[in-house]
Amino acid sequence: MWTTWVRERAVGALPPDKLLPDRQPAYVSSWIYVFGVAAIASLIVIVASGAILGLKGPNWWHVASVGRFFNSIHLWAVELFFFTMVVHLWGKFFMAAWRGGRGRTWVTGAVTFLVSIGAAFTGYLSQQNFDSQWIASEGKDGLNSVGIGAFFRVPDFGQMYTFHVILLPVVVVALVIWHVLLVRRHGVVPPYPAKARPAPAAAPGDGGPS
C-alpha cells in the first residue's frame, strides 16, 4: 500500500525524536548557530508582511500610511533575512558543514540563497516607483544579453508580480523546509577532530560528502 510505504519511509528517515529533538550535541553552543533560525524567523516575517501587502493589492502601500508601514516591515525583514542568511552560510562554510554525507544540506541552503536573490529582485521590480522603473530598465540589458529577457520580461509588471508573490516564495519556502528536514535527518555537523598531541591525527572523512 502506497500510504503505508510513505509513512514507514517518512518515520524511518525522521522519527519524532529526531525531527523535534529536545537535546543537541554540546558543541552546538555557539552564537553562529543562531543565524540559521534567525533567517527562518525573518522569512516568516517576510511572508506574513508580504501576505498583508498582497491582500490589499500592489497600490495600497503608495497611498495608505498603514500600507507604507507594512511595506517597510517587508523591506527590513528582507534585509535582515539576507544578513542572517549570509552569516549562516559563512559559518557553515567555515565549519565545512557538508562533511559526513551532508552535501545535500549545503546544496539546498546555497540554492535557497540564489533563489532568494531572484525573489528579492522581482520584489524590487514590483514596487511601482522610480526604483523599479530604473531596475527594469537596467536589468533588461543583463537578461537580454543572454537571451533570458525574451521570456523573463522585467518591464512586465504582471509577470514580475506573479513571480514575486507566488512562484518564487513557494520555491524558497519549499527549499527551506527541505533544508531543515535534511539538517534534522543528518544532524548538525560535528567539529573537526581535535589535534592529538604530539602528532596531529588524521581527520576521518575530511573533505567532501561521504
Binding site: 517597510s72 567555515f94 559526513g100 514596487q127 516607483n129 544579453s145
Partner: protein, 316 residues
Amino acid sequence: MSPPPSAEAAEWQGEYVRYDLIKELAIALAVITALAVVLTILFSSPDDPPTTIQSWSKADPGDFLTTAVSELDGSSEIATYGPPYNHTPDAAQKIGPLCLQCAPGVRIPIDTARDFVVDPLKTVPGNPALKVALAAYSAAPAKQRKAWTDAYTAALPKARFVAGRVLLPAGDYGPVAPMMASLVGLAQSGGLDGVMLAGGHFYQTDYTKPLLFLSGGSYFEDRATGQHLLGDQWGMMNETGSYPGQVWLWLYTFWYQIEPFKSSDNADALIFALMAALSLAFVCIPFIPGLNRLPRHLGVYRLIWRDHYRRVEQGR
C-alpha cells in the same frame, strides 16, 4: 557493499545538552519582528514616484523631442538594440563566438518609429493638419525623411518652448515639425502614457513600450544619476535615497567596475556568464576537491567551536 559511515556521519557519541528548538524559533521570531518594527519606525521605506512620459515632456521638452525624433529616424538605442526587440545586425552581445542573445530571436518586436511616434499620433482626434503631415511623412522616400529628421535634430538645441508650443528657427523640417509638435502636446496632456500602455486592451500590466521610450532620454538617466543608481556608481546594489538596496548583488556589480568588463561591449553577457559559473561553484563547494578542504586549513572552525575544543583539551 557500501562503505561504513564516517565518524562525521554517525550519531554524536559525546556530550549532549538540553535544547528547545521551538522556544529558540519563538524567541528569534520575536527579536526579528521587533528589529523590523524598530527599523520601520526609524527609517520607513523609500518610495520615489515614477517618471511618466507626461512629467518628462513637461520638465524637459527638449530632451523629449530629441529622443522622439531619434525613435522616428531609427537612430535611438532601442531602434538599434537587436534581439529581442529587432533584427539590427551585430548589435547582440556575445560570449566569445556564442550569441545567446540571438538564440530566442525577436520575441518582443518593437518598431520605434511606428510604436513610439506614428501610431500614437494616429490616435489624436480632430487635427486635420496632423493627418496631412502623417500622410506626407509616410509617402516620402527614406532619403527625404532623413533630411527632415536631420534638420529637425540639428535645430532642436536652438528651440524655445513657449506656452506648450515648440518654436524652431526657420528650416525645412517638412511634416516632422507638426508631428513632433503634436507628439509633445499629446505627451504633456498625459495621453501618450495611456496610448503606449494600452495596446488595444482595457487591462494592461506590460510597461515595456513606455519604459523603453523613457529610457532613451537623458532626463530618466539624470534622475538615476542623482540617486546614485548608475552602473558605474555601483547602482545595481543601491536604492533610491540613503537606504540599503540589494546589497547581496555587490559581487555582480563589482565586475562592472573593473577591466576587461568595464569597457567591453559584451559586458552584460560576460558578467552574467561569470556569475553563473561562480554561483554553480558556490552550490557545488562540497564536491570540489581542494575547495571542500579549505575550511580545515583556514582554522576559523576553532573559533566557532572554541568551547568544545577547550573541553577536549581539559579532558586530556
